[in-house]
Amino acid sequence: MNKHLTLNPPIVNACGILSYLDVFERLEKTGANFGAWVPKSIGPFEKQGNPNPTIYNDGNVMLNAFALPTHSIQSWINEFENTKLKKPIIGSVWGTKPEDYQNIIKKVDKYVEAWEINVSCPNKEVGEKSLMESMTEKIKDIITPLRNTTQKPIIAKLSPNEDYITITKSIIDHVDYVACGNTLGPGLAIDIYSKKPILAGFAGGMSGDAIKPKTMKMVNDIYKIASKKDVKIIAYGGISKWQDIVEYAIAGASIFGVGTALMHKDTEQITEYINKMWTSVENYLKEENTSFDKLVGCLDG
């Protein structure tokens, strides 16, 4: 029997967006009704990530090349110890080898309700190789031992840039959720006056509305495998309006992460935006005379 979360509403922030517990607390105080919070991916060693520019929004696509800045596990624990958050926390973790994941999960396990295993960041640090090469075997080796590391639900966050069907099949018996997906690409933006790449990290993962159709296909492809194994889907990719949530639900997702769409919004605006989003989904369910459970995966095609 797989373990699933009951989130109310089933909306979370995408990992790397808002990022810190104090930001989540501020949003809870303002009344923002997220169903759970996903702090920035925790890594095995302190690092600053890339210098600025770390993002570039050309009006159509968001690129980011943060390259996973992270502080020490101890200073993360200090933050977890002191938090007054009411909603559950989904921990995100990254590493360069299976032991990294296990070590972090062991140390931080008691502070979170589920673990999102980030094996899909497409970004590189300047001069470095890719932080995580998403090869099937490597991902399998990372994910498989984790059932012995934690009792919490395990979410594999996969990349839309890899052969995600083969990867999903190789891990499906060891996870409770598949998260589809991380950023697309990576993509390159060039400044025509300096003739240099805009991002200090050269290329960056693509996110926002622009990637939605690709992630939608990924959700539906993986749903066809996962639904037979009691594995659920989290959708991340270009969710910006209530219709996107409905669309992802029809494709097979049951939790929805909002990332790039929160851009340019202050605390009050995020609160209003998120709360209206779920109300609108509920109105749709009423009008269409259906339920959320019936909607999930009902794609007729």
Binding site: Y56, P69, D191
Partner: protein
């Protein structure tokens, strides 16, 4: 809305002193208002938040690698900016007292120029006369618009000798108060005024995205880039990070 860079040229450079320069730009950011900032990019170097000191002006203090590189720029060189970002100082119902310290004087010059009629009094506090950016502008602005101008220097080289908080003026709730400067100065002045609901202060934190996404600029959970940089002191004074904690480039929360 996009966040594309405007590549513009430096029309003029004003060297205030060893550590402060103002860059007058070819392009005017007509939407910018005082207290807002731009992300200033030097390709191949870095990108940092800098406040507007006019619609076509930024003023930079040399303190580290990025600002050092900026100081090497010449008139005619290209410079890249995205923005304007954040919430600035608003023109409100009641006239303003304005308090500027150090580099914080520059955005306040912009505020005063934009809102001449609603400024009652300007206080500036600096270490020494050479540190008072835009001194001539302030004197002229004050004369022309009937604004009271009081300047404190720590070494007494101009105006009154002492700290900006050494004033013995009594502050009343018939006015609004705008403060810009180092966080400790903000705290001291705001406590002295003691009318938090009508006091607006500008906060700085390390920034990466500047569009509210990454959370790096969190100031007790407020994202300075979208919720600020200008906040009501009523909010700021209750925040545990005020005058006490900031996040580094790794995201770690450390003592200031």
């Amino acid at each position: 809305m996009d966040d594309k860079y405007k590549c513009t040229k430096i029309k003029e450079i004003i060297t205030h002193n060893e550590f402060n320069k103002t860059f007058v730009l070819d392009h005017s950011f007509d939407e910018a208002y005082p207290g807002q900032f731009a992300m200033v990019w030097l390709p191949g170097i870095d990108e940092k938040p800098i406040s507007f000191s006019a619609q076509n002006e930024i003023t930079i203090k040399k303190i580290g690698p990025f600002t050092k590189k900026a100081f090497e720029l010449k008139e005619g060189d290209k410079i890249w900016l995205r923005g304007p970002y954040g919430k600035g100082y608003k023109a409100l119902d009641k006239p303003y007292y304005v308090f500027g310290g150090g580099c914080g004087i520059a955005p306040l010059k912009f505020f005063i120029k934009k809102n001449k009629a609603t400024i009652k009094t300007v206080y500036l506090g600096c270490r020494s006369k050479t540190d008072i950016l835009f001194l001539d502008d302030f004197i002229k602005l004050a004369e022309k618009n009937n604004i009271e101008l009081t300047i404190f220097t720590e070494d007494g080289s101009f105006g009154k000798k002492g700290m900006i908080t050494d004033t013995d003026e009594e502050f009343s709730d018939k006015y609004n108060y705008a403060i810009c400067g180092p966080e400790m100065m903000i705290k001291a002045v705001a406590e002295k005024i003691n009318i938090p609901k009508q006091t607006y202060v500008s906060i700085e934190r390390y920034m990466k995205c500047a569009v509210g996404l990454c959370g790096e600029c969190s100031f007790s959970g407020y994202r300075v880039c979208v919720d600020g940089p200008v906040f009501s002191y009523d909010i700021v004074k209750k925040l545990p990070h005020f005058g006490s904690k900031r996040r580094t480039k790794t995201g770690e929360l450390i003592d200031m």
